[in-house]
């Protein structure tokens, strides 16, 4: 099997496919990249069994076949001397000749017959929908940070996609905080359905998808969710969905509400975080007389800083993890945001001023003495 293609383009595709390669796997075969040639395209695939990536690209040649390439191929293409590469694959002994300019590589491949392709996406999706890539990326970024990285409760390692009629609701939580984003579109009509997608996979996805106004098409079946964009097919296996019902966690009415300048709040909390200590990295927030005070006092020293706010409701005095506040403030772009308090032991709920579709809930830290 012989083909010619652009080395830089091949490298770009390999670099994407590389993202799904396992760090180290006990399944030897998936440590390689699947290299397939059909009449229309050259397809590079990889999987770590949790996610799978397929990238298509053009080539010149006419033969068909498939082989497993060692991951070294990525670096070989990165440092390839000329822009055109000739690849010659012997499917009888799995030897691969790569040549261009004065360089000549000879690699050992492997038989691709039993490569686990089952991970590659729904063949017939149950439902599908489209997004502008940049918009989907933004929505995903606004929830993904709250998903848990600890493996004690598997459900919280995922982002819950709840489909219902014209709505998609994204939920993520690590039991200390919860974020919900609702997206509505008149053209959708989903059957009620939930998919739990591993957050770890979605983080990789965010690294690949660009902030372009091209479309991404998303489809799912009972076991996988697939994202098709540009020439890339990105698939994630779903987690067994045992997500707790979180609707009861969100309190109905607030005891006090403030409207605060987001940038100012972020800067103050960043400064407070400098002295915040321990596992909880707590800052003491005191609301009183249209002023919010951030206070930290620890072994290294103490700080306090006042911020003007618009207060509606009772005074508040509680402790919150600074990281939990900074996570959300960094992501938002709004000038001013709303924070609802529910007493000194109740949760804080961050909301947007004129957008009901998003909320972020944080539990305060139990009073320390």
């Amino acid at each position: 099997m012989q083909l010619t293609t652009s080395s830089s383009q091949l490298y770009d595709c390999l670099e994407i496919a590389e993202k799904a390669l396992p760090v180290r796997s006990t399944v030897p075969m998936i440590n390689s990249i699947l290299f397939e040639v059909d009449e229309k395209a050259l397809i590079l695939s990889s999987t770590n069994l949790e996610m799978a990536i397929r990238v298509k690209m053009e080539y010149q040649g006419s033969e068909r076949g498939k082989i497993l390439l060692p991951p070294k191929i990525v670096d070989i293409m990165r440092y390839f001397p000329v822009s055109e590469v000739n690849i010659n694959i012997n499917l009888d002994n799995y030897r691969i000749d790569i040549s261009g300019g004065s360089a000549h590589f000879n690699l050992n491949g492997a038989d691709a017959q039993d490569y686990p392709t089952a991970a590659f996406g729904p063949i017939t999706p149950e439902a599908s929908f489209q997004f502008k890539q940049e918009r989907f990326k933004k929505n995903l970024r606004s929830v993904i940070f709250a998903a848990s990285a600890e493996e004690t409760r598997p459900a919280f390692n995922g982002i819950l996609f709840s489909f219902d009629d014209q709505k998609i609701k994204l939920t993520a939580s690590d039991t200390y905080r919860l974020v919900i984003k609702e997206i509505q579109n008149q053209s959708w009509s989903f059957e009620s359905r939930k998919c739990l997608v591993p957050a770890r996979v979605m983080r990789e996805f965010l690294r690949i998808i660009e902030e372009s106004d091209r479309e991404v098409s998303i489809g799912f079946d009972s076991k996988t969710m697939a994202f098709n964009f540009d020439s890339i097919n990105f698939t994630s296996r779903l987690l067994e969905e045992k997500y707790p019902d979180v609707s009861g966690v969100i309190p109905g009415s607030y005891k006090s509400r403030i409207v605060i300048d987001r940038r100012m709040f972020e800067e103050v909390v960043s400064r407070a975080a400098l002295l915040a200590e321990g596992k909880n990295q707590a800052v003491n927030l005191v609301l009183n007389n249209n002023q919010l005070e951030a206070k930290v006092s620890g072994q290294e020293g103490s700080m306090e800083e006042l911020m003007p706010v618009e207060q509606d409701g009772e005074d508040i005095n509680l402790h919150v993890n600074t990281r939990f506040i900074l996570d959300i403030l960094k992501i938002l772009e709004e000038k001013r945001i709303i924070i609802d308090f529910h007493g000194n032991d109740g949760p804080l709920v961050f909301r947007l001023v004129d957008d009901q579709s998003y909320l972020y809930l944080v539990l305060p830290i139990k009073k320390m003495n």
Partner: protein, 329 residues
């Protein structure tokens, strides 16, 4: 390997194939048996049957893509855990847990030497066993089930591997290792019904010479008192042996043959009927029993304690000689 190609264990084969065929296998199966009894072969055959796409009568077909992937060590839904060093550590169990909860087809996790799990690893495994994700099967292999957590044991379907008959092992050895019928029969008698042990003996190139040496030593001890210098140098030589334990084992077997001849003079019960040298019945049976006990004690002390090997062997040889002398009187 599938169930069909494995030897013996008919009851186990019947119940496992029936459960797999009816898709009613417990989500956790525990296979126990002594070292070399075939736990891993049976565990792998069970895993393969569970994962097989086209199982026939509850057994793996060996032809479908799943069976091929399994055979080449590439099955994406087969997880294998074994001790990393002395123990199975919590990180080994924990690192698998994300994969357990992914939706997909059936998954099998085989844990070898499950009793080597640390308490933390056991707790982590227990967490999964308590609320098993659908389609996930655990196969635990253990020599000593009582070392597992009670809470893990109670969640497993427990099967015990039976020793194979001599003829079964003899057949196995003749087929797989192409041994002569006599040699296979002798190894079968030495294997205590454990196919793994029989294979080990068959693959051991030094077996024949070791057997010879053990018999020579037994003969020289039997034939009369040796000088102390000789005994001590013999002990030093033994202490240097890397294969000391199998050697002592064979020494025991040589003396056992003597004992058998004493009691019943029946060739069929001998391990190695081809060597009549040990049959001269000069020593009393009680003495032989006593000496076999002595060797067994030495083996136990060698494996269980951190004793000085040379001193221990000197003691053993001196005592053996004394007892031989005593029972000759």
């Amino acid at each position: 390997m599938n169930f069909k190609t494995l030897t013996g264990q008919d009851a186990l084969r019947r119940s496992l194939t029936r459960l797999v065929a009816a898709d009613r296998l417990s989500h956790a199966v525990l296979l126990t048996g002594p070292a070399g009894s075939g736990k891993q072969s049976w565990g792998r055959a069970l895993a393969r049957a569970v994962l097989c796409r086209e199982p026939a009568g509850g057994d793996a077909c060996l032809k479908c893509i799943s069976c091929r992937q399994f055979g080449s060590g590439n099955h994406p839904d087969y997880f294998f855990v074994e001790p990393d060093g002395r123990n199975i550590k919590i990180d080994q169990v924990r690192s698998l847990r994300p994969a357990f909860h992914l939706l997909g087809g059936k998954k099998v996790c085989l844990i070898r030497q499950a009793e080597a799990m640390t308490a933390e690893a056991s707790s982590s495994l227990l967490k999964v066993l308590e609320e098993p994700p659908e389609g996930l099967y655990f196969i635990l292999l253990a020599e000593q089930a009582q070392l597992l957590f009670e809470t893990i044991l109670s969640r497993c379907q427990h099967y015990h591997l039976q020793p194979l008959s001599r003829t079964e092992i003899q057949g196995l050895l003749m087929e797989a290792k192409s041994l002569s019928s006599e040699k296979a029969a002798m190894l079968a008698r030495l294997s205590r019904g454990m196919p793994g042990r029989a294979y080990e003996l068959a693959e051991d190139e030094q077996f024949d010479s070791r057997f010879e040496e053990a018999e020579t030593l037994a003969l020289s001890l039997l034939s009369g008192p040796d000088s102390a210098y000789h005994l001590l140098s013999k002990a030093a030589e033994l202490a240097e042996r890397e294969d000391l334990l199998p050697f002592l084992d064979l020494l025991c077997f040589s003396l056992r043959d003597c004992l058998v001849m004493h009691y019943c003079s029946n060739d069929r019960l001998l391990i190695d009927p081809g060597r009549p040298a040990l049959r001269q019945g000069e020593t009393a049976a009680e003495g032989l029993e006593n000496i076999i006990g002595l060797i067994n004690n030495t083996v136990h002390e060698l494996t269980a304690t951190n004793v000085n090997r040379r001193l221990l062997l000197e003691k053993m040889l001196i005592l053996m000689q004394r007892r031989f002398a005593a029972c000759r009187k």
